[in-house]
């Protein structure tokens, strides 16, 4: 007879010395691993719950301004520097690693309306309510030297916004009209007007570097090409936009933050309807900034909260608020995609984590694997009701919670009324207007 009985050599299965790692032989046969879906679901549930447990996004508060923070600028080359300008004309340069202010200078009398760092990182420009644009050196002045701007340009009207070109020595300001300036000249090389009396923000497109967008007070967003002599086109909406921000990865998408509590992402080629309407704030949205990956953006609102939206999602994935943070005026997403900076009108700049449950610092390879695994599990089971309920749950301040409910009731009432009117009138008399088209009045070329 031929016989073989299963006999294992323990030397193959047990480690040789205490200093070795344990041996773990693997067999991926599915019958040895029953209940795959259920176990993965339980792991996903645990991962979601732990994410909520570890979601502590607030990192630090940068204290020092004597008036509300009006605008901020990221350093073009360094991740640890931040510039902020306040409503009393003071400009501070912060070191984010030490949470300290390293340099203070009195930039303007009146509000500092815009700060932008030149692409090379050696100097920066500020524009203020005293009708001046000043260029400053990035290095602090040496011992005994006074803080002096490199260059001062006097304008005729108040400037309300400032942005610099990505590659050339050209910058744009907006006030009563949008001007393009050359750094060496003291008068604008080109001015764009379109019958509007004031503009609130101007931005250069980071990808198609010759394009600009600006928000005008006639509830419109105007697009320009620097090489042309007249503006390209504009889209007029139902309410005014406060700021506009271009998507750093997609050349033709920009997002504007509007007074009607929403943000709109437009494709600049098709301005007749927005690509997405982002609805979640309960008060006017004041500022918006994209993440360097282009997949998400952060918005600051008058309702004392910051929200992070996915670029194609109508609802926010995250909301940050603190009892001490009042109306948030400006917000920036750091260039390493990890941090969010918010400046509010109670004179503080707050540093937040972009992913609230992320562990900062260097992760060991096992930690990275575990993080990736739980991320994938959460993604896989995100639509299951229990997991969705836990993942979406956020604590909101009472005022905002009640305000959202109230807004929902109001919207529902309006919708019901419109439905009733349509039901009781001639078919076709009241056309169905989609949510996206509702907010655009017209596009003018």
């Amino acid at each position: 007879m031929k016989v073989k009985v299963l006999s294992r050599n323990p030397d193959d299965y047990v480690r040789e010395t205490k200093l070795d790692i344990q041996r773990v032989p693997r067999n991926y046969d599915p019958t040895l691993h029953p209940f795959e879906v259920n176990r993965e679901y339980t792991r996903a549930l645990n991962a979601t719950k732990l994410e909520r447990v570890f979601a502590k996004p607030f990192l630090a508060s940068l204290d020092g301004h004597k008036d509300g923070v009006n605008c901020m600028a990221k350093h073009a080359k360094s991740l640890s520097k931040l510039l902020s300008g306040s409503c009393d004309g003071e400009l501070k340069v912060w070191d984010l690693t030490k949470h300290e202010c390293v340099r203070t200078l009195q930039a303007h009398e009146g509000f500092v309306r815009g700060i932008v760092v030149r692409f090379c990182g050696t100097s920066f420009f500020t524009a203020g309510d005293d009708k001046t644009i000043k260029q400053w050196k990035m290095e602090s002045p040496g011992y005994g030297e006074e803080e002096e701007p490199l260059n001062t340009i006097l304008g005729k009207t108040v400037f309300t916004g400032l942005d610099h070109h990505q590659k050339d020595g050209v910058f744009a300001t907006c006030g009563q009209q949008v001007d393009i300036w050359d750094e060496q000249r003291s008068s604008p090389i080109r001015s764009f007007t379109w019958g509007v009396d004031s503009f609130s923000a101007v931005r250069f497109n980071p990808v198609e570097t010759e394009l600009l967008a600006s928000c005008a007070s006639d509830r419109s967003i105007v697009l320009y090409d620097m090489r042309e002599s007249a503006p390209l086109k504009k889209v007029i909406m139902t309410m005014r936009s406060n700021t506009v921000c271009w998507n750093p990865m997609e050349a033709y998408y920009f997002t504007c933050s509007n007074e009607d509590y929403n943000l709109y992402t437009y494709d600049m080629r098709f301005l007749d309807r927005p690509i997405t309407v982002h609805m979640d704030h309960v008060s006017a949205v004041l500022d918006v900034d994209y993440s360097p990956t282009g997949k998400e953006f952060v918005s600051a609102s008058f309702d004392k909260t910051i929200r992070i939206f996915p670029k194609d999602g109508g609802r926010s994935r995250e909301v940050y608020h603190t009892k001490r943070m009042q109306h948030v005026i400006c917000v920036k997403w750091s260039a390493d995609n990890k941090f969010i900076l918010s400046g509010s009108d109670e004179m503080n700049i707050r540093l937040w984590k972009a992913n609230a449950a992320e562990k900062l610092g260097v992760l060991t390879p096992r930690e990275k694997v575990a993080v990736n695994y739980s991320q994938k599990l959460k993604e896989k089971f995100q639509h299951h009701p229990q997991i969705r309920r836990i993942a979406h749950h956020r604590h909101l301040p009472k005022s905002i919670f009640h305000q959202t409910k109230e807004l929902r009731v109001m919207k529902e009432a309006r919708r019901r009324k419109e439905r009733n009117v349509r039901k009781h009138s001639r078919p076709g008399a009241v056309p169905v207007v989609s949510e996206k088209e509702k907010h655009v009045v017209t596009v003018v070329k």
Binding site: K2, V5, S7, Q22, Y41, T42
Partner: protein, 523 residues
């Protein structure tokens, strides 16, 4: 998915003319395209067996300097049956009207799943052990070969796995092996309980509980076990210390432990089926089955459903979420004596008072085979590799491959010293443990055990530290009892029923509104 594999290997510029890069509108030759795809996939995969194959992929479709072409182009083929073993679901059919994003997500996830299945199938080659076998000579029938002959013919460690424990004082013994197969629990009718590491013959504990014992069962690891004593259910530590006496569970006749749910299911003489969560110590449900004394019980390891056999010939299937049986099957003309289910949850083998042994397909609920045994089988057990052991009185018979093909003669047979009372295959060994009136016999059954265990699931060679880590992870992924149902993959499917129901409700609402409108317009 461009072919990074092709690009990552540095172009050997020798003898090659520089081609302009291929554009997407230009047709590629089939072979090159296939080589590019496979090369891409190979470059992405965790290379364990891929490094020699990668070169093959790059060269596929290209000529070598010598002018010869690759005799084995493309990746190594995977045998179809091995691929079938790892196959999960069929690909979902995509509607034309689906959103393009959804279609994209589904396609991508299915591609990733297929790749994972192929990788797992390829990894099968690297499994270290092979299953056992017993083949007789030309006229010799394998069931005539005695255990002593087998023990002499194999090596000394395997020979030591055949042993008898003479324990005639304390009554017929119930047997249970722990999930890793390392530890053995013996419970005698008259109160003797012993737990042993049977491979090293080390006695862990031995106590007499001074009461009659109906059943013994290991809990999740070798640290705790449950003993169903005459009155109540007791839980002991592996040192023999009594940890709990659970008075709510009275007159327990049979127990089954569901390892991934940490549930101990108990069947009592008063026809109650009760579930106890051993991690938190709470009774999950108590189901009054109203079917009389429950002394035939087994679990389906694939979906954690409990099978109960009844004296009227029916087998009923229970889950803790329903107060009624999920399925009631009439299996035998007399009472059911024993039930067992295989590890993949496909086949159920039952034996009854009508001396028949029947095999059912439990997923389709259809009878497959029916055998006549001259004396009926009092205990049944299925091994990990599909061997069935059946005992009648003091004879133990093992049948090979009972479920698929009709079987005419047993694979092995052995006579034990007393009437067999408990039967259990050892999980990763070629061993069958029989508890009988004269003690315990461990017999060799070549080909019964799964040769390759998974270290992360049940590792017979784990250290105490590994066991503790495993226990924590197992507790974290403990499945809630609400998820126990006939189809364990229910969570992975779209809930069409609820969607249809909601859709119908909406349609009904709209229809009624329309009807009211018509009535209003008419009047």
């Amino acid at each position: 998915m461009a072919s990074p594999g092709k690009a990552s290997v540095s172009d050997s510029h020798v003898g090659k003319k520089k081609k302009p890069p291929a554009r997407y509108w230009q047709e590629e030759t089939d072979g090159e395209k296939k080589g590019a795809e496979d090369g891409g996939r190979a470059a992405e995969e965790e290379p364990r067996t891929q490094k020699p194959k990668q070169e093959e992929h790059q060269r596929e479709g290209k000529r070598f300097i010598s002018g010869k072409s690759d005799p084995f182009p493309g990746p190594a083929p995977i045998p179809e049956d091995r691929l079938q073993k790892f196959k999960r679901k069929e690909k979902t059919k995509k509607h034309r009207r689906q959103h393009y994003k959804l279609r994209d997500i589904i396609t991508r996830s299915e591609e990733a799943s297929e790749m994972a299945q192929k990788q797992a199938a390829r990894f099968d080659i690297l499994l270290p052990e092979d299953a056992g076998f017993l083949e007789g000579d030309e006229e010799e029938d394998t069931y005539t070969i005695s255990q002593e002959d087998i023990a002499d013919a194999v090596d000394i460690t395997s020979g030591a796995k055949y042993f008898n424990l003479k324990l005639s004082q304390f009554g017929p013994y119930r047997v249970d092996y722990s999930k890793t197969g390392r530890h053995l629990l013996l419970g005698g009718r008259r109160g003797h309980v012993a737990c042993v590491d049977w491979q090293s013959k080390q006695l862990m504990c031995e106590i007499n509980v001074m009461e009659s014992i109906n059943d013994v069962k290991w809990l999740h690891s070798e640290t705790m076990y449950a003993v169903a004593q005459k009155k109540w259910l007791h839980i002991y530590d592996s040192n023999g210390i009594e940890l709990h006496c659970i008075r709510k569970f009275n007159d327990v006749l049979r127990m089954q432990f569901l390892p991934y749910h940490f549930l101990l299911a108990t069947a009592s003489a008063s026809s109650f089926l009760k579930y106890l969560d051993v991690s938190v110590g709470k009774e999950v449900t108590a189901i009054c089955t109203k079917t009389g004394r429950l002394d035939v019980m087994c679990q389906n390891p694939h979906n954690a459903i409990i099978h109960l056999g009844h004296p009227n010939g029916t087998v009923t299937l229970w889950s803790p979420n329903q107060k009624e049986a999920l399925v009631k099957m009439l299996c035998h003309q007399g009472g059911v004596r024993s039930v067992t289910v295989d590890k993949s949850g496909t086949y159920m083998v039952t034996s009854g008072m009508d001396k028949k042994l029947k095999v059912y397909d439990i997923r389709a609920l259809k009878p497959l085979q029916s055998y006549f045994l001259p004396a009926g089988a009092s205990c049944l057990s299925l091994s990990q590799r599909g061997l069935l052991s059946a005992t009648t009185g003091d004879v133990v018979q093992v049948y090979k491959d009972v479920c698929n093909t009709p079987v005419t003669k047993p694979y092995m047979a052995h006579r034990v010293r007393g009437t067999a009372w408990g039967l259990s295959f050892c999980p990763f060994e070629d061993v069958l443990g029989v508890g009988h009136g004269d003690g315990f016999t461990s017999m060799l059954v070549p080909g019964a055990g799964e040769p390759n265990f998974d270290g992360l699931d049940a590792n017979p060679y784990r250290s105490a530290k590994q066991r503790q880590e495993w226990e924590v992870k197992a507790l974290l992924e403990k499945i809630q009892p609400e998820l126990i149902s006939l189809d364990p993959c229910e969570l992975g499917q779209v809930d069409q029923a609820t969607f249809q129901q909601r859709h119908q409700d909406r349609v009904q609402a709209l229809v009624s509104v329309w009807k009211n409108l018509i009535v209003l317009l008419d009047t």
